[in-house]
């Protein structure tokens, strides 16, 4: 019995020590990292982020810092990863990349993220285009994310295929062909029908991305500015849906699988001739071409035009969750990664478009030709396309509506199993089942 008691005592002591250690970790007195006080920071990004070289650079400049990076293949998987870890209350990296599409969900639990104002956000506030910085600020004025890139949209097109179909090939003529500053979706689909008649091939890869572009372009998307659902009875949105449905019914969609494209093959075999391109999509295309063995001769080019005017799709933020053991170091890293100089390097690596003004200016001044896109000065074009972009309010279920409500409805159009009315009513039913009644 004596033994047993001693053991209990030891167990209690052990547990107490553990508890002390645990509370000790969550203390706010954080020592700056140095060679004597090594700190390991974890970073989670997704898609093509272009940070690989920057991590090494930061480690060199800041002795004692070790960066452990994870990159998740696509945004929706990164969302699941982040949500799971938020729900579990542990496991999030010190720096987490958040996509604009699911920022609305994150904003609902913004108190689980460090207010970057405590780490000097106010001093660098003016770096960013104002709407981007505002997007990362919650209703209480807490800044929970530094913007990395934005997604102004231009039009990717395949010059070779255009030429074969008797359409102009060079960027300027193509921009004019689509209507320049007054480019509309009607012209886009009309040209598509012309192309289809000449070649028998599809105009765009699948309906989903075109639809995302159309919705992101609207002043209010799936939600009103006040946060109410804005789909049922939204005549403007329905008109656009019908326009897209008519185009798809005319055979303009190649019915490709999003984010797969037959491992990139669809970009090299002439399956489709145009592609809606937010800045970061250029990096995606690059990856797809690489996996399919396509090079500079695959014919892709980037035109300074977009149907329906300025549009922004996506872009990301870097956040520091409250669970981070080194919030100050993590915030410092996030600020450094999103500073103009680094955004320029990120853009060079990932082909995306920076969200800070100075970085944008630098890209325009350099006007570096993008070899993969027939030497198009993609930075300059994207800067033009960013003009007139207004941030759209993203509600808590925005990404669910995009993927689980409209995704299936648009796939029905692509597969030819439904007409516009049926697909639209399917979307409304799904909206009701998945979002309203959820």
């Amino acid at each position: 019995m004596k033994f047993a008691r001693r053991h209990t005592a030891a167990a209690i002591a052990g547990a107490a020590a553990l508890a002390l250690m645990a509370t000790g970790c969550s203390g706010n007195s954080e020592q700056a990292a140095s060679a004597d006080n090594p700190v390991e920071l974890t970073v989670t990004t997704f898609g093509t982020f272009g940070y690989d070289d920057l991590y090494g650079e930061y480690e060199q400049a800041n002795p004692g810092i070790k960066i452990k990076a994870t990159n998740i293949d696509r945004g929706s998987n990164a969302r699941t990863d982040a949500f799971t870890k938020l729900a579990a209350g542990s496991g999030l990296s010190d720096v987490v990349a958040i996509e604009e599409g699911w920022l609305g969900s994150i904003m609902e639990v913004s108190d689980q993220f460090v207010d970057l104002n405590e780490h000097g956000a106010a001093d660098i506030k003016d770096n960013w285009v104002d709407w981007k910085f505002k997007q990362g600020t919650d209703p209480d004025g807490r800044v929970i994310g530094y913007g990395t890139d934005i997604g102004p949209q231009g039009l990717c097109y395949n010059g070779k295929l255009f030429e074969a179909a008797g359409l102009p090939k060079d960027r300027e003529s193509v921009a004019k062909l689509f209507g320049g500053e007054d480019a509309t979706w009607e012209t886009y689909f009309k040209l598509g029908e012309q192309y289809k008649a000449a070649t028998g091939k599809a105009w765009y890869d699948q309906s989903g991305f075109v639809w995302n572009s159309m919705v992101n372009q609207m002043e209010e998307g799936y939600y009103t500015k006040d946060g109410d659902l804005n789909v049922d009875g939204n005549a403007e949105m329905k008109d656009k849906f019908e326009l897209l449905a008519a185009g798809t019914a005319a055979g303009l969609s190649a019915n490709q699988t999003q984010w797969d494209w037959g491992n990139g093959k669809a970009f090299t075999d002439g399956s489709f001739a145009t592609f809606v391109c937010p800045g970061w999509m250029l990096g995606t295309i690059k990856g797809q071409l690489e996996s399919a063995g396509g090079g500079t001769d695959s014919g892709w080019d980037f035109a300074d035009v977009f149907p329906g005017g300025a549009s922004n799709w996506g872009g990301a933020f870097l956040s520091v969750p409250k669970t981070s053991e080194h919030p100050a170091e993590a915030a410092k890293l996030a600020a450094w990664l999103t500073a103009p100089e680094q955004q320029v390097k990120q853009s060079a690596a990932a082909n995306n478009f920076p969200s800070t003004l100075k970085a944008q200016e630098k890209l325009v001044a350099d006007a570096t030709p993008n070899v993969l896109f027939n030497n198009a000065p993609t930075g300059v074009i994207l800067a033009n396309r960013a003009k007139g972009v207004v941030a759209q309010f993203k509600g808590p279920d925005d990404s669910v509506i995009q993927e689980n409500v409209f995704g299936p409805a648009l796939k029905m159009l692509d597969a030819g199993t439904a007409d516009a009315d049926k697909a639209w009513s399917e979307a409304l039913t799904l909206l009701n089942d998945l979002v309203v009644k959820n």
């Binding site: 929706s76 938020l86 969900s105 699988t257 037959g262 993927e403 299936p408």
Partner: protein, 334 residues
């Protein structure tokens, strides 16, 4: 010799108080077995029972994935899920994939085991070979098969196209997608089940086969009349484990179309996949827990059915003479 008429004095009626050591011994004998098996039950309580109960508690609440616990809603989640068309769709898909995988799998595993039970050359090599697919992780299997079953660029449709056949819509049509997923499951589990069945077959006494052969029974007859009845308990085990596994199938349908939760129109969304969508996309943790519990109940139901079947088989196995046979024996005794 003297006889003592007087009885010796009775020993003291009061038993001496057992010493501490004695009491400890008694305690040891009585309690130790429980202590020895305790680690399993403590672990089970922690990682089995507690989550089960906690899931049930969560299912009674409006529970948002990120925002946490909300209002108590009683059984409302259960009534809503039971009226949810997607829930029934997922059950149909699960059962369909289960049947498409379990039945061919068992048939082929039986055949393989019977072949491996013969006197063949390089026996160990063949036995190891059938287990190989089981060693490959399901994710790798799913990725390779997903590629093969691609609609526009997949290997299978390419081959079909070379013969001038129409491509099969492996991902957008329900039955083809179920067949494709069942193929992945079969690829992985057939060899494993074959080995278990083989082990059972090897325990069948060889002289049974010899005497049957002497009586003129052919190979087929020997298989159906001797092998099959002898391995019935193992068959039951294989059926139960593949039922539980089959009803919880997740990885294969999840990776068959990584962009959606089981197909754009939920063509191959299994129940666990629907649970996953509910929890991590729709963020309704309450309903996700409800689905988990309903699935648990369904698996228990299947388990009970299996148990009843296996009990019948067990009694058949016990070689208990039938009532008629017993009566006959009694008659001859008289």
């Amino acid at each position: 010799m003297t006889t003592t008429l007087n009885r010796p004095a009775k020993p003291a009626a009061i038993k001496p108080k057992p010493t501490f050591r004695q009491r400890l011994n008694v305690f040891d004998v009585k309690a130790s077995p429980y202590l020895y098996i305790a680690p399993f039950f403590i672990l089970f309580a922690l990682v089995g029972l507690f989550p089960l109960i906690y899931t049930f508690v969560v299912s009674l609440f409006d529970w948002h994935l990120l925002k946490g616990q909300g209002e108590f809603v009683g059984l409302q989640n259960f009534t809503e899920v039971l009226q949810d068309r997607f829930f029934w769709n997922s059950l149909f898909n699960t059962l369909s994939i289960f049947l498409l995988s379990a039945i061919p799998q068992l048939a082929v595993a039986l055949f393989l085991a019977a072949m491996l039970d013969q006197n063949i050359r390089a026996r160990t090599f063949w036995r190891m070979s059938v287990l190989l697919p089981y060693i490959v992780t399901p994710v790798a299997v799913a990725m390779i098969f997903t590629n093969m079953f691609g609609e526009q660029y997949g290997l299978i449709n390419n081959v079909l196209g070379n013969f001038g056949l129409d491509p099969v819509m492996w991902k957008s049509e329900t039955l083809p997608s179920h067949i494709a997923i069942a193929t992945m499951v079969n690829w992985r589990w057939t060899g494993y089940n074959a080995l278990i069945l083989l082990a059972a077959m090897q325990a069948v006494p060889r002289d049974l086969y010899e005497s049957a052969a002497l009586d003129g029974a052919g190979a087929v007859r020997r298989f159906f009349s001797i092998t099959l009845p002898s391995i019935r308990p193992t068959m039951v085990f294989v059926v139960i484990t593949s039922t539980i596994g089959g009803l919880q199938i997740f990885t294969e349908p999840r990776l068959f179309d990584p962009a959606t939760a089981g197909g754009s129109q939920r063509q191959f969304q299994t129940t666990v996949l629907y649970l996953w969508e509910m929890a991590f996309q729709r963020q309704n943790f309450g309903k996700a827990s409800t689905i988990a519990w309903l699935l648990f109940l369904i698996i228990v139901l299947f388990g009970v059915i299996n148990y009843l079947i296996s009990r019948r088989i067990a009694t058949a196995d016990a070689a208990k003479p039938s009532r008629a046979a017993r009566k006959r024996a009694e008659r001859t005794k008289r």
